[in-house]
Symmetry: none
Subunit: 223 residues, 4 copies
DNA sequence: TATGAATGAGCCTTCATTCAT
DNA sequence: AATGAATGAAGGCTCATTCAT
């Protein structure tokens, strides 16, 4: 009921309980993402989810407020992954805006590939969210795309990129990254994931890298 | 549902009846698209649809087989518009693959703008379709994107465009066209429709027009 | 549940345990009465009761057989108070049937005032009891009202009271005593408890005291 | 949907529909009162009600907003009967406050006897009502008891009755009237309805009729 | 053609009860 | 003695679909 800030020195029982709780959450969340992707969030019945997750119906309600919160939690889980892994990828890339942009885009795609089931929900199920949840989702989406916008801005300011509409290009990159999940069933047979990311990177950068720097980024622009 | 080519020799009563029938269909279809866009197809109740359309529940079942058929009909209605208006736009454009490509893309965007409510359903509600309907929807989508692929192929063969992956670029163009409907609530405040189409055309072509022809298409590439 | 007369020779540990047990019982029983009065016994969830009582759900089941037994225990607790305190009040009053009747009535009212939460349950929740529990409740209610009937009979036999229907008058007195709990929210602002008891005593006796003895009981009959 | 004030000249179809609607309402309301009395309103399941009423579950929701509204409707139905039949009885009685008081009390008892199932609900189920419904119920109860208070006031002003607490006596009369429903299972074997009403009238009036007028109302005061 | 009353299967959610710790 | 995670049956309610008028 009352839970102090998680203290690692808490008694072991409490720690074990929390660990089991997190496991349960993940177990249910994963099952929910799978089912929602398969049939849509509205068509997913809680009984079906219980079966897929291997728990009882009642237990789902101990961990999540209800169907709405569950959808929200699945979406937040993806957006959180973006918030974690994209900055990591940027930090690991060469200290160059364009290289970092490519790395960020790849990171978006990788998260989407990892959480393919959940990623499409952002696009498909936003109407099923409550007003409050929709608002918070939009906030997260915006802040999630911030790295892209910052790098684009840096590239433009440094003369590496043409003076494009930053918001629009960032939106396109996200759209294309989600495109892998949306038509995954189609592309995984014709293109592999690496192929998809490489070609999309080349297409996207091809339209915005300043001509004089095209040679420098030839490894990214090669079709 | 199945309507053979109308017989011009039908008696006048029959003609009037068919006209009223088509009007009823459109009336219901429009209301359905609006409601589905507002809340998702699953959340739309047939009783709510009846009210929105200004008819009784029973009547909907006289014109459409059921809820599934209704969703399918709404989607087919959009895809039909593509099939009609894109070729028209191509025929009306200058006889140049790149010009025609731009015209086709604009036509896609215009249809999506006109039927914004219904357009998003293609992305959002495909999982709600029956297997048979989903199969036919995919078929239509593929044939719908044929003009793009043909024009890209022509442009590449004529040396006007770089040797890009035709399927991928066509997919991107459709993705971006639908992007207008998906984030319409966001862009309509920052970019107008014309702005959106112009900039997206420039971005897309900027990445694929062969360098030596960039000047010829400067009016399309201007950011 | 079943508690034999405690053995005074029990070891001290056992005694302490029993004491804690009784405290727990009272703690849970009080919380149950409060919650039941607030929302009805059916609407009271065992988890809510656990929270209100400050114990775990499991513990409730160690002390009470289940929800049904709990309701029964709450009701029995009130009826037990009647069985204890009414005879005490009668014994403490002057040795006169009418004085004792007034004292008994006052005692009923006092118990009801003390256990207002639980008292209404007798009226409101009898339908929620199992057949067996309902039977035993009725038995207790009847024996609970015995003092009233006996005193009325004595008064009539001694010529102090008119020859009224003993059962009916006893029933009325109980009804009016419970009336304090039923409309407590209303009367506590217009009449105080003392006012209520005094006036009701006067009204009830006013209708049944033999005319020739009205002066003797003027202190009870004054409106 | 839009229903003008009921016009007797409305087309016959509409009239027939309204008639059937009222029949359905009564059919469901009666079944609800029976079941609620038998097991309590909370324990009554909507499926059980549907079966008892001989309709489908869904239909209940066409006529009543839900379980809450149903309970409220049942209670209002009783209170409405009071509002109708008590004034009628007063008007039909001799033009004398005490005679009219007795007639009013009898009318209360008769309504309660007729709608025994529903009458107890006022006492038992008030906690199951929503705040708004409880407020409106209380309003109705107060106005329902107005005739009693008025007649008592008249009797006192005319010197026919002792100067008793009007609110309290009115409350007692209602309590005793409901007492017939509350312990009906007990009294119907020992007293008949007529016996109950007669004796209660005598008891109640016996305590409040001014001594000098006791002979005039001997027919009401005879035990 | 058109209506809308009626149906009932199925869904989300709650909660009494159990049991491993 | 005490906890609370876990279960699953049951209930309120919705809504796609039918059919008499």
């Amino acid at each position: 009921m009352t839970s102090l800030a998680e203290d690692p020195h808490l008694d072991p029982d409490e720690a074990a309980r929390q660990a089991r709780g997190r496991m349960r959450s993940a177990q249910i969340l994963g099952a929910a993402a799978r089912l929602m992707e398969r049939t849509g969030s509205q068509a997913m019945s809680m009984q079906a989810l219980a079966e897929e997750a291997g728990v009882s119906v009642g237990l789902i309600y101990r961990y999540f407020g209800g169907k709405d919160d569950l959808l929200f939690a699945v979406i937040v889980d993806v957006l959180d992954s973006f918030a974690t892994r994209v900055p990591e990828a940027v930090a690991a890339a060469k200290p160059d805006p364009v290289e970092q942009l490519a790395a960020a885009f790849r990171a978006y795609c990788e998260v989407i590939n990892d959480k393919r089931h959940a990623a499409v929900l952002t696009y498909r199920e936003s109407k099923s969210l409550s007003d409050e949840h929709r608002r918070r989702t939009k906030e997260l989406e915006v802040s999630t795309s911030d790295p892209l916008r910052q790098l684009l801005r840096q590239g433009i300011d440094g003369g590496l990129l043409l003076d494009v509409d930053v918001d629009l290009v960032a939106y396109n990159l996200l759209l294309v990254a989600h495109g892998w999940a949306l038509k995954h069933w189609y592309f995984e047979h014709t293109h592999g994931f690496e192929d998809y990311v490489g070609k999309q990177t080349a297409l996207a950068l091809g339209g915005i890298v300043a001509p004089r720097y095209r040679r420098r980024y030839a490894h990214l622009l090669a079709l």
